[in-house]
């Protein structure tokens, strides 16, 4: 395991600040000497990205997630300097087959009371279960599986990443708002694609649009083919004879979804996992002050911020925000605060975001975006909910399958 531990010292900043007093109420008497800062360690567990081929337009950055967490640590350190708190990020990057459980336990043993995990669902659950005795709070910043929020939910697991149900609901709400109500669903061969397709069908029923046709994609990863490869004729005629408004693709690996726009028989719009997508973050997003976050990230990482970076940033900021309120490093108190009704955080989405008590999923607006522009933001205007309109996205309390064991 390549393990980097970076402790961002704040002594210089502290010295520059002058007095460190902070008050939420009555005045405090000036202290003779400031106590040593409260040290809060946050772990980040991810797997090394396979080196890309010679040229890959969409190669994931090798510091994806890490860069987002590093930025949030800087934000936390700046804030903590005023109230005697210091934050450190402990990074653990797994090599190809390395066991995530050993790495997670090492992070916890090293003092990380909180670990943001960017791993698939099976690994994430193993990590969460292994960390249960230590009381470590686990943030899911990568896995969208609804089962993690349902039957497989865990009391120490908080989901910053959106669920597939949320992504599908956000997208379908937008299509319904535009009255594009006839969907042609094309599903890829992977198990994840079937899960996304199921979420889309559920969303269609929820928001009153129809899946009028469904076909599996059987032509291989055409989106990755070279520009001079002859186009497969059967793929071109694939959409013939179907009446629909929008073609919706379920292709989480990105193998064919980008092939479909401009290759349909009729000139039709494409949405789903490619073309028009629902996302927590997007490089074109600049509303609600987020130009600031984009600019800070660009300066730090020399690239634009991905969704995983944003989710990592948010996980680390959640700890920072809770630390400001709790003035403690006790992870159990953070977990109680997160799942309680009084905690929310500003996340550059225009409204505060907070955790749902029933499955510990972060409720948040989702961007509806095409590759280089924001098209809309869901929840859409006009949708109503008894508690918060954000809960029109994803699994609501009455439907949850989560039975949280304490």
């Amino acid at each position: 395991m390549r393990r980097i531990t970076r402790v961002l010292a704040v002594g210089a900043v502290l010295a520059a600040m002058g007095s460190l007093g902070v008050t939420t109420g009555a005045a405090q008497a000036p202290a003779a000497a400031p106590p040593p800062p409260l040290a809060i360690h946050i772990g980040l567990l991810t797997r090394a990205v396979e080196p890309p081929p010679l040229y890959d337009l969409k190669a994931p950055p090798d510091d994806e997630g890490l860069a987002g967490a590093r930025l949030a640590i800087k934000d936390n350190v700046t804030t903590g300097a005023f109230i005697g708190q210091d934050f450190a990020l402990d990074e653990a990057v797994l090599q190809s087959d390395e066991d995530p459980v050993a790495a997670a336990l090492a992070l916890a043993k090293g003092g990380a009371g909180f670990i943001a995990v960017n791993l698939p669902a099976a690994d994430l659950l193993k990590v969460a279960d292994a960390l249960k005795p230590s009381g470590t709070v686990v943030f899911n910043i990568g896995a969208t599986d609804d089962a993690l929020r349902g039957a497989d939910c865990r009391a120490n697991l908080f989901h910053v990443a959106p669920s597939r149900a949320m992504l599908a609901d956000a997208l379908v709400q937008y299509l319904a708002t535009r009255k594009w109500t006839r969907l042609f669903l094309v599903t890829g061969p992977a198990a994840e694609d079937a899960l996304y397709a199921a979420a889309l069908k559920h969303a269609a029923a929820k928001f009153g649009v129809k899946v009028v046709a469904e076909k599996p994609w059987t032509f291989g990863p055409l989106a990755r083919q070279r520009g001079d490869t002859p186009t497969q004729a059967d793929a071109l005629v694939f959409t013939r004879g179907t009446e629909y408004d929008v073609l919706v693709v379920a292709d989480e690996a990105g193998d064919f979804g980008d092939y479909i726009p401009y290759h349909t028989e009729q000139p039709k719009l494409v949405a789903g996992t490619q073309a028009l997508v629902a996302a927590t973050w997007h490089p074109a997003q600049d509303a609600w002050g987020s130009a600031q976050l984009q600019s800070r990230f660009l300066r730090l990482a020399s690239r634009t911020m991905t969704q995983v970076d944003y989710q990592a940033w948010l996980a680390v900021r959640l700890v920072g925000e809770a630390a400001t309120r709790l003035k403690s490093a006790d992870a159990a108190r953070y977990a109680a605060l997160f799942r309680g009704p009084d905690f929310s955080i500003a996340a550059f989405k225009g409204v505060p975001v907070s955790f749902r008590a029933w499955d510990q999923q972060l409720r948040q607006p989702l961007l509806i975006a095409q590759p280089s522009a924001i098209v809309s933001v869901s929840p859409q205007d006009g949708y109503l909910h008894r508690a918060t309109v954000l809960d029109t996205l994803g699994t609501d309390a009455p439907e949850t399958a989560c039975k949280m064991a304490p």
Partner: protein
């Protein structure tokens, strides 16, 4: 106010919401009103509005309530203020990383000041110098000597500083940081942070009362205005807002202005498209005034007869008659109006 004007100002109590976005609707409906205002007003003030996406400043005559000029000032103008003698208008031109100085007579940009990176909002020392600038992208406050165009000090503060308030005696500077969720109280003699007060999420604006005894800090995402005693740093009150038919999340307080007698505060509520009228002594919300879309900043005329609001999404300015608490006109300005200031003379 003359009786005639009073009569003219009697407007429908509540406008249908769809009217909120219709620029000039009120002006078109009420041509008589504008005439009445023109006749009743003793002196005219110039109102300067920064248009964030228009890269311009619109100048409005407070008597006629018409735009008299639109001036290009630089890229992404946001915070705007005016010198006590009325001879210089200062504008944060954020994407030019400078403060532009506009001559109100010739409407030419005279010079650009070294504001530090990405200036968003600022406040002028009551004496007219220096200028305290929030550098949103750089976690600091820049203290700028306007005469010499020289940076006197840079004070590190929290993440994304924005709101800047100055006590009437010029001794305490209040700076809010939007991601750190604090207001920093800075000693203007030493440029040291004396104290920090936690407020709600995304604090946007800080405003002292004229007697210096209270500091109002708005929290955009938290949806509250915190009233602080700057002496003891005690939180006196957290003002909350509730508007029937408006989602709680849409209530996002930004700009705050308080009458000189300390009796009434006006709070711009962003996408709620309302300005709240708050009793600044009991902290009760007395009224919500329907204005244009995404209202952010506010400015009184020196006689406090009128209050101007910038409505960023409807590209207009609403005019509130302060004594009657009625919205009397909306005036079309440039793209995404952000800040507003009224000349003191």
């Amino acid at each position: 106010m003359s009786a005639a004007r009073k009569a003219e100002l009697r407007l429908p109590r509540r406008l249908p919401p769809r009217l909120a976005g219709v620029s000039l609707a009120l002006g078109a409906l009420l041509p008589g009103l504008v005439l009445a205002l023109a006749a009743g007003e003793a002196s005219a003030f110039s109102v300067y509005v920064s248009n964030e996406r228009g890269n311009s400043v619109s100048v409005i005559d407070s008597n006629t309530l018409e735009v008299t000029s639109t001036v290009k000032v630089g890229r992404r103008p946001r915070g705007i203020t005016v010198s006590p003698d009325g001879k210089s208008v200062y504008i944060c031109v954020s994407d030019d990383h400078a403060v532009a100085v506009l001559d109100p007579v010739t409407l030419k940009v005279l010079r650009k000041l070294k504001s530090g990176p990405d200036p968003e909002l600022f406040v002028l020392n009551p004496s007219g110098n220096p200028l305290y600038v929030a550098n949103e992208d750089d976690n600091q406050v820049t203290v700028l000597d306007i005469e010499k165009n020289r940076v006197i000090a840079q004070v590190p503060v929290g993440v994304e500083p924005e709101g800047m308030g100055i006590s009437p005696d010029g001794k305490v500077l209040a700076a809010t940081s939007e991601t750190t969720n604090m207001v920093h109280l800075i000693d203007t003699a030493t440029y040291k942070v004396m104290n920090n007060v936690l407020v709600d999420a995304r604090p946007r604006f800080a405003e002292f009362t004229a007697d210096g005894k209270k500091l109002f800090v708005s929290a955009e995402v938290g949806g509250t205005v915190t009233v602080i005693d700057p002496q003891t740093r005690a939180i006196l009150k957290k003002i909350t807002f509730a508007i029937p038919g408006v989602a709680k999340e849409a209530i996002q307080p930004v700009g705050v202005r308080i009458t000189k007698d300390g009796k009434r505060a006006f709070v711009a509520l962003g996408p709620a498209n309302r300005v709240a009228v708050v009793n600044a002594e009991t902290y009760e919300v007395e009224k919500y005034l329907l204005v244009g879309q995404r209202v952010w900043q506010l400015a009184f005329t020196p006689d406090e007869a009128l209050l101007f609001t910038t409505n960023g999404n409807s590209n207009d300015v609403s005019v509130i008659d302060v004594p009657s608490l009625k919205v009397v006109k909306s005036i079309k300005v440039g793209g995404a109006p952000w800040g507003v200031v009224v000349a003191p003379q």
